[in-house]
Structures are given as C-alpha cells and as structure tokens.
Symmetry: none
Subunit: 242 residues, 2 copies
C-alpha cells in the first residue's frame, strides 16, 4: 500500500532564494514527486520568466506559491519543520540524513510539516535553522558539496515519496502538538521574564537564545504544555507580596 496523500501536507519552504530558475526547478522537482505546497521567504525575483521555464509544466505550483516576509510566518501553522542544512558546528539540533528525516516527516504528515531550504550561496542561517526541530543533510562528496538548490529539493522530494510508498499511516497523536507559532510565543514570553529578572541581558545574549531554542525544539511540546508554562510565566508578572 502507499500513502502518497501525506504528500499534500508537506510544505517546501525556500528561504531567500536568489535565482528564480531554482524556484522553477524546485517546483518541477516537487510536482514529479507529488508535492504541491511551496512557500517562498523573500525571494529576490519572483514571479519571473526563468522560474516558469525551469518549472517545465509545474506552473500550478508556482502560481499557488505563497510569498512571505519571514520564516516563522512560512511555518506558523506547521507542527514540525526540518532544516535542510549541512551545518554541524556548535550547538546541534537532532541531526538526521535526508532519508531518516523523510520518514520522520511522513510519519507526522497527517498534520502540516515543512522542509526548509536556505539561500543558494549562504544556506540557512543559524537563526533560520533554529526555527526547525530537526536538521537534515544529504550525504555529499566532502570535496565538492555544492548541491544545486533544485537538486537538493529533488532529493528530499524523492525521499519523501519513497518514504510514503513504504510507510503506513501513523496513528493520530494522543495529544495535540504545539504549532511552531505557539512555541515561538512561549520562547518570547520566557525571554521577556528572563530579562525582567536580570537573568538574561539582551545586550549581551551570548548563546542563551540558541540553547533555549534548541531545547524547545527537542522537547516536542504539546499545545497544553505551552499553556501551562505560559500560565506560570504569567504569574511572575504580578508583583510579589511580602
């Protein structure tokens, strides 16, 4: 049996793509594998004839592509996002190869999930990658790791289809997972209270933000847990009575 319906719930996000041809190539790669939801964060040129040429018939995906200003906006209704990145320095998120990540995404795909690709030259920034729960990389030749953006989308899209063809539908989760937007609100609330107490100094953030975001990404919070933690943070806003 196959389960390619899951592909409808999987979003491809291109963050700050420079070349419209690559947007078209990504749309074509997506459509060949049955994906259809494309979001673009600040594309340098879009719409653009080069995108249409390289899409080679996947115009419907380009026409339906939403353009947004920020990555959190592109992910706000997703419960889960994967950063396509070869980053492996410093603080790591859970890091998988593309195949394992595709299985994780398909297992979650009864709900909205996303795979995020960075700019052609710079890749994903640390901040962008920190918005995602899992980091995933395509194993490449260490001496020539320059995978074209459209080709990277093709490999992930292919692995997603392969994962669907062999995966069985995942059981519905017992509790409602938090959306990335809810987790972001929790992070902001926590940072705010940490600033009030003097624990966190925004002028000298060090690595605290990165560490906390990494922790939140790993914890896979439920919506109700976000409510509990924010409820506690809210009680801190009241002056103490002594």
């Amino acid at each position: 049996m196959n389960n390619t319906d899951a592909l409808k719930n999987i979003r491809i996000v291109l963050s700050r793509p420079s070349h419209p041809g690559n947007i078209g190539a990504a749309a074509r790669a997506m459509k060949t594998m049955g994906l259809s939801d494309l979001r673009l964060v600040q594309p340098r040129h879009f719409p653009h004839p080069d995108a249409v040429v390289r899409a080679a018939g996947a115009d419907d995906i380009l026409n339906a592509a939403q353009v947004v200003e920020t990555l959190p906006e592109a992910l706000s209704d997703c419960v889960f996002a994967v950063a396509a990145t070869a980053r492996h320095r410093e603080l790591r998120h859970e890091a998988l190869d593309a195949r394992a990540a595709a299985h994780a995404v398909v297992a979650t795909a009864p709900q909205a999930v996303a795979i995020v690709f960075g700019n052609e030259t710079a890749g994903l920034t640390a901040d962008e990658a920190a918005n995602c729960r899992i980091w995933a990389r395509i194993p490449v030749n260490p001496e020539f790791s320059s995978l074209n953006l459209g080709a990277a989308v093709q490999v992930f899209a292919y692995e997603l289809r392969m994962a669907c063809v062999i995966a069985t539908p995942a059981p519905a989760p017992e509790f409602a997972p938090a959306t990335l937007e809810q987790v972001e609100q929790l992070y902001r609330h926590l940072e705010e209270q940490m600033t009030v107490t003097g624990f966190y100094n925004p002028a000298n953030p060090g690595r605290l933000e990165l560490r906390l975001r990494r922790l939140l990404a790993r914890a896979q919070l439920e919506a109700e847990e976000v409510n509990i933690l924010r409820g506690f943070l809210k009680t801190l806003e009241r002056p103490k009575i002594r």
Copy 2:
C-alpha cells in the same frame, strides 16, 4: 567504514542529450556524490558554455567527458549497465527501482558499470534499453512524471552514494546528558517557584505534576540546560524592586 571508492568505477552515460545545460547539471550532480566518469553519446551541443555554467565548478568532469558515436561504444568495457527508464511495455528486462538498482550497481562496482540516461524528450529507445542488463525507474507522480534529466542523474547519483555508505556507529553525544537526579532537582525547584507564585497549589495538585514530569522526561535535558533553567528559577527568588 564506507566504500565510496566504488563510485570511481561507476559511469554515467547520457545518450543524445539535447540541452547542454543538462549535461552541466548532470556533471554537477555527479561530482556532489563522488562520481566522475561521464560519457556522452552524440550530444547535440557539446562543449557549450551553458554546460559550464550549470556545472558550477564540476568543470573537471566536463573536461574529462568522452564523446562517442554509439551506446555500445560507451559501454564496451563495462560488465554491467542499467537503463534509467520508465519503460514498462513490451518485453521487460528485470525492472528495479532506483534504490535497488543502485545497490546492484555498487555490488558490481569493483568492475566497470554504467547507468544510461536517454534523451530529454524521447527517453531511451527500445534498442538503447536493450543494451542494458537491468531497467531501473525512479518512482514518480503518475500525473506528472516529467523529471528533468539533471534531476534524474542527481537521484541516481545520490542513491549510489547512499548505497556505498555503510552505517557507522553513532558518535558519542557531544553534550553531557543530565542525570535523573539533576532533572528531579530541577522539577523540585520549578514546583517550589510555581507554589510561591500561587500557580501551583500543593493541596490541590491536579495533573500538573504528572504533566510536567512527562514533559521533562521527553525533553532529554542536558546537564547544562538544567543549570540554565535552575539559574533562571534562582533569579525569581530575589524580591522584585519596584
């Protein structure tokens, strides 16, 4: 250990490619995965600046690519060839998906082996496919099966590299996980502060403790993260100055 040396013996053959840009894209796709042997059967335009542009640094592969007149010539020293084709009519060869074919190719790769791709529009002819021992296809969306030639080479090249890379033992964790005792101390500290603010009433605990413990268990905290969170909780103990 991995076995990417096998990639040196695997040849990519493009039969009658129309667009030089696709030759460049194929060269780049090959190089990112560690392949280097490219042969071209009657390319319409080659060498060509479009190929160099799309190769994006894989010029060495273009420069070393041999141009030949016939497919048998391109395969003459190979012991084994795979036709990349979605053909499934008429008399069938053994037909595999790209993943299974990649494993078969890598297993044979101590000797010279090839994967053969047809023209962008027409694909492989029946005669061309008949030159190959195995037919292999990339599973695609039946409603839009138009995979770009460079993208098809990318998927096969990726599967070849994946087939070569044998799982290595997981590396030791980079960060020290928290002990259960440290997590318990964190929980006690959190409960204490939640009690002080009135968020938690020990006389009427409800399911809060259970939920928080479940969250902490799932989060797989590191020792340093426990320190950060307890550091924050400690700042809450100081009276606010207003």
